[in-house]
Subunit: 201 residues, 2 copies
Amino acid sequence: MIPAPSLFPSLHLELPAWMADYVSKASQWTTTREQRMAFVVSLARMNIQHGTGGPFAAAIFRLDTHELVAPGVNLVVASRCSVAHAEIIAMALAQQRIGSHDLGAPGLPRHELVTSCEPCAMCLGAILWSGTGQVVCAARDSDATEIGFDEGPKPLDWVSALQQRGIVVTQDVLRTEARQILQDYANQNGIIYNSRQGFAP
Amino acid sequence: MIPAPSLFPSLHLELPAWMADYVSKASQWTTTREQRMAFVVSLARMNIQHGTGGPFAAAIFRLDTHELVAPGVNLVVASRCSVAHAEIIAMALAQQRIGSHDLGAPGLPRHELVTSCEPCAMCLGAILWSGTGQVVCAARDSDATEIGFDEGPKPLDWVSALQQRGIVVTQDVLRTEARQILQDYANQNGIIYNSRQGFAP
């Protein structure tokens, strides 16, 4: 009944091939907060155009130098992994790059998560455990739910919940641009991969 | 300023080596719900004993045959990944094994997540997106917070939030045994890896 140990796979998540080339040319995008968000929003659009995932992107930057530490895009369907939201990918790859599970560990520069949409319930918790010091959001929860995505059972005061733990939250940076991508995705009948509302017990 | 694309690592998560041998011998553990939980609780204890992570374990089982689909243990520190909670590992590896991001997809048997502790805010959201149909918990949130772990900003009515989406929740299965592992871990001065309460903005 129990499968052989070899049947337990490992989990391997990596960025789409198109991203490496684009990201390597994007150094002009990272000086201001709006530029960093524009870079992230462009990743969300390219993720749709390349058919590699949902209309969401994120990235971790250093707060001092504004250097890109790791980008992320939604890879849920492509990677067969419901956890593979853009924020999760960016935070996890940033942690792999710096070699710590805590982006806020002593001796490290502070880090900023820039995300094309406010975090879902899962990513909200993941942000807390990641050690990132700031979160910058474009589209609102309501922009995502309007096209059918479920943000999950977030506390109404989720911004306060982060800020009480010392994480600065900035909303509505390039919201219009990010929202348009969500609407374009819906208009193209993109997969609303986590819209399942459950099933009868 | 932007690192070369090759500097963006991939994320690779795999079970500790000790687990394969143990899991392959554990077919007697999976018939009843209490047996499945006892198996999971034993994984949590072994994760401490082997020094491979925090005092938490989980597993995904098929609801019809009670077959183990994938086990998971906390691998946050070992894998340098704050997302690598036991529930995340079990759900993600189960999805890799069945080849879908949705454990509740049409044509699949229903699945059960058995976890040694009630889910934190992140895992609560992840459970929703995973497609699992049932969640069985041992230790309570309060058992984890008593020893210093932070469960994060969960809605007070998190059980209802899951059940409203068709996910059946069962609490307190072998709670005493699972709580003892948490207390033993604290007594050994184990790393409370996500207890960081943030920093001054």
